[in-house]
Amino acid sequence: MNILRRTALILPPYLWLLMLFLIPFAIVFKISLSEYALAIPRYMPQYDPETGIWHLITQLSFENYRLIGAGAVIAVLSGIALLAALIFLFYPRLRSAFSGETDGSLSDRLAAFLLGLAAAAVLVILGTIALSWFFPSLSGFVELQDHLYYTAYLSSLKIALFSTCLTLAVGFPFAWAMARSPAQYRPMLMMLVILPFWTSFLIRVYAWRGILSQTGYLNQILMALGIIDEPLVILNTNIAVYIGIVYTYLPFMVLPIYATLEKLDESLNEAAIDLGCTRTSAFWLVTVPLSRPGVIAGCFLVFIPALGEYVIPELLGGSNTLMIGKVLVEEFEKNGDWPVASAVAVILLLILIIPIVLFQRNQQKNQEAGL
């Protein structure tokens, strides 16, 4: 009875996961292993009841993955993961070596971190050299047939990282000001942050075209004010993509940070000032460290969707804005190469699993700490 009830409770989310994630993923994965064909659907059916399942397995090919340079992507990812793991290993030891028992100053920590980073980087490079020395055949694994996909992954990573930092830089003061405003205004400010969601995302991003284009409102105003003579070229560049991502994902950054800052006891700040801090140092020594869970959550909430973003680079970016979401759609729609598009999607998912797992761990840690 008890088991039955428990199963009934757990079943819906798992069914949900199965139907909306695992089954579609399995289909995409299957397509990614098949061959392109000018037919409907646009790939060769691999499973033939006559030849049976064994034929299917032996016939599977990773040719699509080889084409998009998945080996190199995986190699870079494992390199980054190894680097991070090594820093986590070195950093606490170095820090205590620098500053003893107590938490050292910022410069101590920075020195420890940089030294840890350098040591980890050297180790990773040495490891890579050793690997290629002992297993020369591995170079085939990372060989790139077409640089497009690899560059698109890296460029997406760069754009996502950079726009996450930008969103944090804009969102943190935003959240801080909200949390410090009088209690009766906070629900209204919260409402104002959420309000843009009431309009279609597509329309809002289109509206930015009107603002940023050469004859758009921004250039009109700047020229009318005499600040510039020539219209600025913003639309169809990476700058427009950054603006679009920061604008679209700002609430995802503001809300978690606001949630942690709002819970902060004002007396902690007063205690820091009472113990000799200036307002600025109290902010850096108390407010910032205590808002870390919110900052981490916000960064992931921006980074994860930004990495696979398609609409914003399509509408605001130019022809040289390379993002993997765009490549995926082009491959699928214009080239009609479903197998390669599927392979791109599978690798994109693999890349996203790392931040998603880290995000989950952060959330779990916060829950345990009761934050």
Binding site: G100, D103, D265, S267, A271, I273, L275, P289, A369
Partner: protein, 375 residues
């Protein structure tokens, strides 16, 4: 119980030549229309353990926050150690505060919490460590130095907060309801520890509390506040025995208050109060005449079944008995309808008591037992 500091002659407030550590001069604090502190004058001396006592909203916390520097007086000046502190920002004041919520930094260990203020002073690392060790030993937290605040108990957190506030050796330590979050037993133990620490460090303590028992136990002097004004500032025994108003008498401990009319006699004065009741004889020595209040503590009234020989005897019936184990409080109803509380120690087994509910009893008290108050 030791309610005084070890040196029983410690009474700098009686010496007019003594310079106070803190001097409030005509201090008024307004928040918009609301007057939190109303033209207040107060001197607090070095090495004192000074308690600010009052109901919530009486201004005691505002007074403390003005000392810490989180609020500035609207009018008047506050002198700390001979210096007007109005222009000194809170981080530059030689005061430290122990917050009601303790305000421990949750991301730092116990030792780092204590070291926080020392590092801001730019103290050398070796000195910081030595001082942190000293403070941890003072509050007996040796085993917990590396734990985070959420990994220790409420009582231990309270000690960390105390150690952190004391670490910078402030001239003045402010304690905002320091024991409010502790359970009763722990609170009583901690009160004595606080007193020991105050004596051994020689720091001046100002404590804000709404718990009169706590104020009486720890403080060398108690200030009773109401609506932004000081009602009475005195030693705990004088506050209790000689309250200057019915407000103080009622706020500190239990009291019976009888309204009456005073007239002078040779021995002192008599108070005519209830119809058909004998006048109360008191040698209070007060010069008060006319309408007065007579305040008498329950434990100063004896209850007996037979009529005793005393300066004042009242007759009534036992309405209720509150049995508290060590003592019992008797609610005795007089013929006028007035209910008088009398307290007696249960130094005999309760079964041997010669009166019970509904019995007629006599209440008696001496002519020095109560005080006569104008208001």
């Amino acid at each position: 119980m030791n309610t005084q500091t070890i040196d029983s002659n410690f009474a700098p407030w009686e010496n007019a030549e003594e310079t106070p550590l803190i001097d409030f001069q005509n201090v008024t604090k307004r928040f918009g229309e609301f007057t939190a502190i109303d033209n207040l004058n107060l001197k607090i001396y070095e090495r004192e353990f000074f308690a600010l006592l009052g109901p919530s909203g009486c201004g005691k916390t505002t007074l403390m926050r003005m000392l810490a520097g989180f609020e500035n007086p609207t009018e008047g000046t506050i002198i700390l150690d001979g210096q007007d502190i109005a222009p000194v920002p809170p981080n530059k004041r030689s005061t430290n505060m122990m917050f009601q919520s303790y305000a421990l930094f949750p991301h730092l260990s116990v030792a780092d919490n204590i070291a926080f203020g020392l590092k801001r002073d730019g103290m050398a690392k070796g000195d910081v460590d030595a001082r942190v060790d000293e403070m941890i030993r003072l509050v007996q937290l040796g085993k917990f130095a590396k734990r985070k605040p959420d990994q220790i108990s409420g009582g231990q957190r309270q000690r960390v907060a105390l150690a952190r506030a004391l670490a910078r050796a402030p001239k003045l330590l402010l304690l905002d309801e320091p024991l409010g979050a502790l359970d009763k037993k722990l609170r009583q133990e901690t009160q004595f520890e606080l007193m020991d620490i105050q004596e051994s460090t020689g720091t001046t303590f100002v404590i804000v509390t709404h718990d009169q028992e706590e104020a009486m136990t720890v403080a060398s002097r108690v200030a009773v506040m109401d609506h932004g004004k000081l009602v009475q500032v005195d030693t705990p025994d004088r506050i209790y025995e000689n309250p200057n108003s019915t407000y103080v008498a009622d706020f500190i401990g239990d009291v019976n208050i009888l309204k009456g009319h005073a007239s002078k006699t040779d021995a002192g004065c008599t108070i005519a109060w209830g119809e058909g009741q004998p006048e109360i004889n008191t040698s209070c020595g007060t010069e008060l005449r006319g309408a007065v209040h007579y305040a008498i503590r329950p434990e100063k009234i004896a209850v007996s079944a037979d009529k005793p020989d005393a300066a004042n005897v009242l007759k009534g019936t036992v309405l209720d008995i509150a049995y508290l184990g060590n003592i019992s409080t008797y609610y005795v109803k007089l013929a006028t309808g007035e209910v008088i509380k009398a307290q007696a120690a249960n130094n005999r087994r309760i079964s041997r008591r010669s009166f019970t509910w509904e019995d007629e009893v006599y209440l008696s008290f001496t002519d020095t037992a109560g005080v006569v108050l104008a208001q």
